[in-house]
């Protein structure tokens, strides 16, 4: 189902749709300031599917919400860095400009489509609303467009179903409605925050198919957030791994599976490729749990759980270093020859 040739790094990478630079995002909590995203940079090229993976709480959603300036208020704020959309910084953009970009140039879908749709508005209307917010358009035309979008994302009898309310759809169909809403104005970037996590396994594949289909149809880039590396495998062009608010590794999808360079990444891989065990849906069986973001470990944040930890890991912060073409990892030893998981760490 992957169209590996659709995204061509040579051709498309030169023109990133979005470039996030040194993003720092914080939440004020009763216990203190939580730095949920700490100096994360990445960029996404046109038509690229860029995946962000990591355990629960590592800051994936915070990255996604920061891009659109939608951090929950008043607790959350972007404390530093830039989000460049085709070169224009959205962090310093005016609220009016941000509103223009949202839903039009950058759209977003969420994990739980039932709660993400307004229960008291017909789905066709919720889609039509996007047109009316951004374009001068007759209500009737907006409605017709909404119906067409519903059929594009594969909802049978779209004309009739547009008049239904969200609770009248199944989980998978609801997520299709969300996708229809997100692609209404053919955005350059679609952010999908765990779009399949709340769905049945069989439905998950269908939804990913729809996403890949619309990206091809409309030449969109996708920022795909997930904690399921199984989802990434067939879908993403490139992958960024996050741990405790930091980017710890980034690589083309195939390289990440073949030659993971960060011990956390191979821990994740080890915990997902166990096809012999029923998948619980959640990621890691890595021993231990992520550190508190209030008082993160001073140097390598993974040190308390790392199977290869050395004294230096507890004193010096491991900057990201290049390990291959397009691959970086934040581990002191990532560039060492032969560095990688032992056979028993990656079950066959």
């Amino acid at each position: 189902m992957t169209d590996v040739t659709y995204f061509d790094p040579e051709r498309d990478s030169a023109r990133p749709v979005i470039a996030v630079e040194d993003l720092v995002a914080e939440f004020r909590t009763e216990a203190g300031i939580v730095r949920a995203v700490d100096g994360v940079s990445f960029d996404i090229a046109q038509k690229e599917v860029f995946a962000v993976v990591g355990e629960s709480g590592c800051g994936k959603s915070t990255v996604a919400l920061s891009v659109l300036g939608l951090l929950p208020q008043p607790a959350g704020r972007i404390a530093g860095g830039k989000v460049l959309f085709r070169g224009e910084d959205l962090v310093s953009a005016s609220p009016a400009r941000l509103r223009q970009v949202r839903g039009d140039r950058i759209a977003m879908i969420f994990q739980d489509p039932l709660s993400a749709l307004n229960p008291t508005i017909r789905v066709g209307e919720q889609i039509a609303e996007v047109f009316r917010a951004h374009r001068e358009i007759e209500p009737k035309v907006a409605w017709e467009q909404a119906v067409e979008l519903l059929s594009i994302v594969g909802i049978p009898r779209a004309l009739a179903r547009a008049k239904d309310y969200p609770h009248q759809f199944s989980g998978g169909m609801r997520q299709r409605v969300m996708i229809a809403m997100a692609i209404a104005l053919r955005p350059a970037l679609l952010i999908a925050d765990e779009p399949t996590t709340a769905l049945d396994v069989t439905i998950q594949a269908q939804i990913l198919e729809v996403l890949l289909d619309v990206r091809e149809r409309f030449d969109m880039a996708i920022l795909l957030i997930t904690h399921d590396l199984g989802v990434v495998a067939g879908t993403a062009d490139r992958v960024m791994v996050m741990y405790a608010g930091k980017k710890v590794e980034e690589a083309p999808a195939l390289d990440l599976y073949r030659t993971p360079k960060h011990p956390y990444t191979w821990g994740l891989l080890g915990s997902t490729t166990r096809v012999d065990r029923p998948r619980t849906g959640s990621l890691p069986q890595i021993p231990g749990s992520p550190p508190s973001l209030l008082v993160p470990p001073p140097a390598c944040r993974f040190a308390p759980r790392c199977p290869r930890v050395q004294p230096i890991c507890r004193t010096d912060y491991p900057e990201l270093r290049k390990v291959d073409v397009g691959q970086v990892a934040a581990c002191h030893f990532a560039q060492d020859p032969g560095w990688g998981p032992a056979p028993e760490e990656v079950p066959a």
Binding site: L70, R99, G103, M108, A116, P119, E129, V130, H167
Partner: protein, 325 residues
Amino acid sequence: MGQYIARRALVSIPVLLIASISVFAIVKATASPVAAIRSNPRVSQAAIEKYTHDLGLDKPPPEQYLTWLGNFIRGKWGTSIVTGRPVGPDIRDGLFNTMILGITSFLVSIVLGVGVGIFSAVRQYSFFDYLSTGSAFLGLSIPVFWFALILQIVFGLYLTNWFHLATPVLPTAGMFSPGATGIDLIDRIRHLILPVTVLSVQIVALYSRYTRAGMLDVLHSDYLRTARAKGLNERTVMMRHAMRNALTPLVSVAAIDVGALAGGLIVTETIFSWPGMGVLFISAMENGDYSVVLTWMMIVVAFVIVFNLIADILYAVLDPRIRYD
């Protein structure tokens, strides 16, 4: 939708019937329609028997009930043994007067309560939010009779003396000035101010809490985040996506409360000598005025049931998830 309403309305009919049986049984068990005239030594035994027969009281209870129900539905509500006048006009006036007081208070309270509640929610943890929360708890804990008396003393006495006025700053009793002819709107409104204030303090306190809670729920909801992610402007986000869903529960609560209003606002009406349903009920009970008590209770029960039905229907109109269950 139509089906839902029809179904809910049909269910109300047996509820009404059962309620009417209970009302009839309770009133019969606690008051006797002939007690008042029997205690009058000048009434002859024959007259009592004729009266008993006329009322059908010599028949078995189920038959009495059916006779009464038939009369009630046809609007034959009997006569008051105290005034000798038909019950209908007294009940109608009482209901009307209570509704004037109650509906005015509701309108004031809904506007204020919803406004305060929404503003508190949008500015959660602000100074205004703490102030309104504190005031709401104060408003709910002030005893009605105490607050009413304080207002009467302040506006009827202290301020009047202070300004050396001949008449009170605001009238403290009744619906209009004694001796007034026709309807003087200003005079009516002046008479409404103090009792409406007493009632509104309570209702605003309650409704602002409901609204705040409903609004906070919605403000933290995923679909509001979706609405923003779509690039809707803040006005659309608030009016279309937030307020409507936040106010749905309040609409039904208010409908139910309006129905309950028919029972009168006993404390407020008594203190402000407002000739409403509450006052009517108290005096009918004291006088053992059987016909008035029975009719009064049945009317009140009917109001409560009908407005519960209205609340259900409104809820279904506002929330599609209800209709399709």
